[in-house]
Symmetry: C2
Amino acid sequence: MREPSPKQNLSAEQWAEAALDAMASGGLEAVSVEPLARRLGVTKGSFYWHFANRDALVQAALELWERRETTDAIARVRDEPDPFERIVTLFKRANTSHRSGRLYLALAAASDHPSVGEVVRRVSAQRLDYLRQSYQALGMNAHDARLWSTFAYATFIGNQQVHRDAPEQFPSGAEFRDYFKLMLRSLIPRAMPADESNAGQLHAVHLPKT
Amino acid sequence: MREPSPKQNLSAEQWAEAALDAMASGGLEAVSVEPLARRLGVTKGSFYWHFANRDALVQAALELWERRETTDAIARVRDEPDPFERIVTLFKRANTSHRSGRLYLALAAASDHPSVGEVVRRVSAQRLDYLRQSYQALGMNAHDARLWSTFAYATFIGNQQVHRDAPEQFPSGAEFRDYFKLMLRSLIPRAMPADESNAGQLHAVHLPKT
DNA sequence: CTTGTAGCATACGCCGCCGTACTGACGATG
DNA sequence: CATCGTCAGTACGGCGGCGTATGCTACAAG
């Protein structure tokens, strides 16, 4: 078939998708050909038709993941003109999409693998850069924007980690709403400083009133 | 020998120590008997003398880790009377001990393993609880202390994660000192709501003067 | 000197996973 | 109908890690 029939690519992407699923639940080591084949109801014969070897599957899964975590993810907030609301949206998304968070943590834990480490670095760098730009759009200078965006991003990631490692301890329900408000107040300054001397005023109100 | 000679336990702990090393660099899967034996200059024959099987080694390593991360770690800050300085010390330690941070992340990534998950949960819970107590000692009520301590702890963990996943992006040198100050200002409130006169005392931020 | 034992080495069988043939079913095309 | 490309099944060899069985050495006790 010369024409790119949609059915052709389906299988290859299904393998990559299944590989991402396996990573999310069992880490990179869980991406093994025969177990994945069993899970998909086929045998290795199918796999080695679509991919040269196991590493090619890992590569394909990584490309799929990178595209989703950068281009696609950012495209979904680019139409938000207000930088404040943009940050809030990113923050909210980071605290709700558990599957995506688990996937990131699993991949980050496997960054010893050279390809994985590369992709994780690129994704992290791009997220950080986008956050930094948003903070600059708030009126912050480059230096402060770098500090604040790193701070905020570390808290994003840390929340996912704590939520996974100590789910009982993590706030939920009404307490989570208070927690979320506290983080927003602390991580997004509302009044920009005229000069750097009164940076302490950025968070004048501290304690949750509720 | 009936008498507990100190030489007896040495080997067993060395195995556990090597297991922790392997975890820190290669995750839980890297704790394999034969590679570890090669690294220690012995063979499996030694291992299966000290341990029943691989899981027993994992268990021993976990116990060693848990003790170090809870009892021992907290004991090193218990003599600090000022809760503010106690939090600063914990924070500073979390941002400097890279090896310990990598170990935590590696173990947390393997919390699918039931024993590992249990220990990670206990360690996280204990750290969070200790932080919460410190915030309460600052004059905070129980509800706020829970929110703030979770916030601070998430940032602890997130910093380790970002430092590992995007080392190029993470602040270093003079920028790190600014970053550290920003986090301290944001994560430890200096003015308590109503009563105490210790606000002025807390206001004096001690900078990490390396 | 004999015996026992602690500690490690050696050799073996087993299993799970990788990768490579080779074969087979099926539809499209000539 | 014969042929070819697509996709999946089957069978095989190899490797690395686990666990066991057994042998070897040093040392202590009697």
